[in-house]
Symmetry: C3
Subunit: 152 residues, 3 copies
C-alpha cells in the first residue's frame, strides 16, 4: 500500500469452467496470474513506469491489478475482455471493457476511452497498447484481460 | 497492506464523459483523485486518525479509499454520491450511498447508517461529516464521493 | 502490498440491520472483523500458509480478505454465504458463494468449485475447510463468510 508501481504487465486469457467462478479462475490461470491474490485497482499508469513482461511472482502474493472480467453461460456467445493503456513518460491511463463483443469491437470501445482519458489529462501524443481475450462460449466461459502493477 | 491509516481525506466531484467509465474517471479528476490507483476498502475510521485535507500524492500511488460511485445515462436525472463519517478519538465508521437522489435526501440516508454503525459500536457521541457530490446528467454523468485513507 | 500472507483465518457471521449496508456491517461485527478496513482479494491460499484463529488486529487496519456477502430484504428468506478452502503444503484455493440457499446446499456448491480449482492445479489430495453463515431474514438481513489473509 502507498507504493507506486514501476512495471505494468499486460496479460490475457480465456477458458471454460464448471461454474462462473471456476471459469474465471481458469481464465486467470491461462493468463498466467491464477496463482496470485489479485487486488482490484483503478486505472492509472504511474509516471515513470514501463511496460514489462510478467515476472515470476510467488504463489499467493498480494498483487494490485487492473482487470476486465467477462463471464457468460450462453453457449455460442462470443465474449471478450480488454485492457487498453495509454503510455507517456509522465504516466497515462488504463481503461477496461468486457462484454458480448468481438476483439475488434471491444478494442474500438477501449481505444475511445483511452483517448478521452489521455486528452483530458493533456497526455498527448501517447503509445497505445491492448491486452484482449476473446472466447466463444461452449458451456460456461470466461475472458480476462489484466494489467498487473508490479514494482522493482 | 496491514497498515493503519492516520488521515482521512474527504473529497467529491461530478462530471460528464463519453462513456460510463470515462464519466467516472472525469468525476475522480474533479474530486482531485483522478491520478491515483484507488483500492476500495470497507469502511472504518481508524482509532487515532484525523480528518485532513488531501495531501500531494504522486501519480499512480496505490491508495486505499472508501468511495461511493454513481453513473447514469439518463439525461436530466439528478444523481448523487455521499460518504458520511462518524468520528470519535476511538475511531468510527464510514458509510456510503449513491443513487438518483438529491444531496439532502442522500445525506439523510447516510446519516441514519452512520448513526446505526456508531450506536452498535458504542461510539457515542460523535462528530458527523459528509462528502457529497450532486449532478444533473446531461448525457452520461457521474458523481463520486470518497474518503482517502492516508498515513503519515 | 506485494506481501505473501502466512495465515488464513476463517470467520463468519449473520445479522439484521436497518439498511443493506448496516446489515452487512453488523454481520461483519458478528464475524469479528467489523473493526477492520477490508480489501477484497481473489482467492489463493499461499504456499506455506496455515489456517489460524483470528489474531487481535487494531481497529482500522488495512486487511486483505476473501469474502462472500449476501444481503436480502425478503423476510423469511433463508440466506447463506460460504468460503471453502482447499489446503496443501504447496498452497490451495479459496472459493466463495452466496445466495438464497441452506448451509448444506451452499457447501455443496463451494465444495465442487474447490475440487475443480485444486484438480486444475494438480493439488490433490487436499484438506477441505468451510466457513459458512446461514440466516433467516427478519427484515433486512446479511450473511458473511470470510478468509482473512494475515501474516507473521
Amino acid at each position: 500500500m502507498y507504493e507506486r508501481p514501476t512495471k505494468v504487465c499486460l496479460v490475457w486469457g480465456a477458458a471454460e469452467g464448471d461454474s462462473e467462478l471456476t471459469a474465471f479462475d481458469n481464465a486467470l490461470l491461462k493468463a498466467g496470474i491464477g496463482h496470485l491474490n489479485l487486488i482490484a485497482v483503478t486505472s492509472i499508469f504511474p509516471e515513470g513506469a514501463a511496460l514489462s513482461s510478467l515476472p515470476d511472482i510467488p504463489t499467493g502474493t498480494l498483487t494490485p491489478t487492473v482487470y476486465a472480467k467477462m463471464v457468460s453461460e450462453t453457449p455460442g456467445e462470443s465474449i471478450s475482455a480488454c485492457i487498453g493503456v495509454g503510455v507517456t513518460p509522465k504516466g497515462g491511463v488504463l481503461m477496461e471493457a468486457h462484454g458480448p463483443w468481438s476483439a475488434e469491437e471491444i478494442e474500438g470501445r477501449v481505444r475511445r476511452m483511452v483517448e478521452e482519458g489521455m486528452r483530458t489529462r493533456g497526455l498527448e501524443p501517447y503509445e497505445l497498447h491492448f491486452a484482449t481475450a476473446e472466447h466463444v462460449v461452449e458451456k460456461i466461459g470466461s475472458a480476462v484481460a489484466a494489467a498487473v502493477l508490479w514494482r522493482g
